[in-house]
Symmetry: D3
Subunit: 131 residues, 6 copies
């Protein structure tokens, strides 16, 4: 149960509706997910976060599907349930198969393992790795 009341489209101000409309248009969907409805309690924050997501996740030097999978990797690392479900769904829409998801999780698990081995043993960074 969200800590703030969700803002439904029908109850939203013009400012919030404009963002909702842009989300639906950009993503080619006809509904708004709960994350945005919670953020809409602060319309300026809703707009700011959405603009960030829109710009960062757009095609650029990296493929959009790669970006979604990186998002899933970070969310799994942080244990964010909402983000894991929502970005896995987005990645699947963009073509991620079960095999790709399982392999992604293998990398995420391995990195979390070796991160602790390096941190726990306090291994010095090799000079050759420094730029």
């Amino acid at each position: 149960m969200s800590l703030v009341t969700l803002v439904e489209y029908d109850d939203a101000s013009a400012e919030v509706r404009a963002v909702y409309d842009d989300i639906m248009k950009t993503r080619r969907v006809d509904w708004i997910n709960n994350f945005w409805k919670a953020l809409a309690r602060d319309p300026a924050q809703l707009r700011r976060v959405w603009e960030n997501v829109k710009q960062v996740m757009a095609p650029g030097a990296l493929d959009p599907l790669v970006k979604e999978m990186v998002y899933v990797a970070v969310s799994a690392t942080n244990g964010c349930e909402y983000c894991t479900y929502s970005h896995t769904a987005s990645a699947r829409k963009q073509g991620m198969t079960d095999a790709m998801l399982m392999e992604l999780m293998a990398v995420v698990g391995l990195a979390n393992q070796t991160n602790r081995l390096a941190n726990g043993l306090r291994v010095d960074v090799d000079e050759r790795f420094k730029p």
Copy 2:
């Protein structure tokens, strides 16, 4: 300064050298980085972790460069200095440009931000996101 004495090639047992040789051959390099030299204090662990890395990071459903970037993303999220340097170096060797690294960091930063917004506001997962 590592919490255990690093095992140099010249001082290594045959069991450890066999792993070192496989690392150098697989990666086409002529040196061993400190992470493995620390793990070598436990030869069975050295072998096990290396076999995991070798299998998980090999080409599969995901591109090796994508896997390296996911590794960097997890390491940046966890704040692992050693892993951030070493896997950024690996990713660059596989073709990651500065533009790709900066864009990767943008996604990592954004995911860490929205992970906390979703967790902090305790947003319920939308039914449509569930598989």
Copy 3:
């Protein structure tokens, strides 16, 4: 479902009841929340953690509401569901509005983002920032 049996007031030892009574008196409430009922499986730990909370959260150099909001910020960062609900409720009792909560979350999200940018790019600390 808690991993240990909760200790209800009616079943509590005199030692546990004394802490429960102090919690209710200090907080001006007439019930005990589950966190303390779980800790009460170890009466010495119950007392120790409660004394810590009582001392640390009392008015001092910082305002009690500010402290509650810092608690919420840490809990959101760590993804602790229980603590996010309980400390948000406490902060609201002390006057935190929805606008304040949303702004708090904006700072928490931003800090989590830039923490990873600084860690991921391994930015050196400027000399001027050192004390």
Copy 4:
């Protein structure tokens, strides 16, 4: 040593200089710290992150000093060295004393402790805490 080359003011493009100038004007300082010089490798990201910081950290429903202390709390929780130094310096400039810093750390430490007690014992959220 940063993973990307820092962009010094004298070498910066007009686009980057415009952001640098706005940072110095807004903060009333005559230098740019390394964080921005690293982000400047991606001018669009530099601008985006700066605009976020500028908007989120401006006076609003919360006091700017409170926001800086929340930033420090999150950075200490995540173990971000750069952010801990830089935001502690900012908070001191805005009036945080040693007594306030120590008390802030006490809250951060306590919250990190009880977050794990609640998560580790899997304590159910009390109905009364739900909004």
Copy 5:
């Protein structure tokens, strides 16, 4: 609800069944828990992770119960619900009492607290602690 379809024993391939059989035999149980049924979507990963668990958690320089409690400590620190339930159950089977669990949690809470005090105040490592 798992993000991948669980693989039940009756529907499993010979490769997956072989791992399931080894899990049940090694642990002297007659059922497979959901973690393995999810990993089984990638049979090679199922085998790899199981071999790791089997080797790492076997008796060695540390007592198996100590290892299970360390597993619980890490899982509580990371807020992993599944792992906290499953490894607490394993530790109880191996003899962990309520008193031991509560004391373990006290250490976990304390370590999470002092970790942030040391990181937040940026305390330099004493030379005498270095190996």
Copy 6:
């Protein structure tokens, strides 16, 4: 460089010296490590944290060496450099060998790996694991 001035024994107040003396007596050492010297900027906090450490780390349902190793496991998971060095040193004093440290790290790494697999795949907790 610590964010607060360390309080040396010779400059300490009677209140702080009393805690320092108790630390040295309890631990049978003749010096005070930096962590306490930083905390001493807030004498009440110094006393409170020390009392917590003294009580929690004393012999009880768990062996003191086991507790130190759990402390190391948490510190490695959180990436706390200071705590990893200091508690590894303590554990070694209490008898932890290199073989035990390496095996401890193997468990820590494995737990961090499977925590993310369980969280990333959102595996439901088996009913049989619930108490």
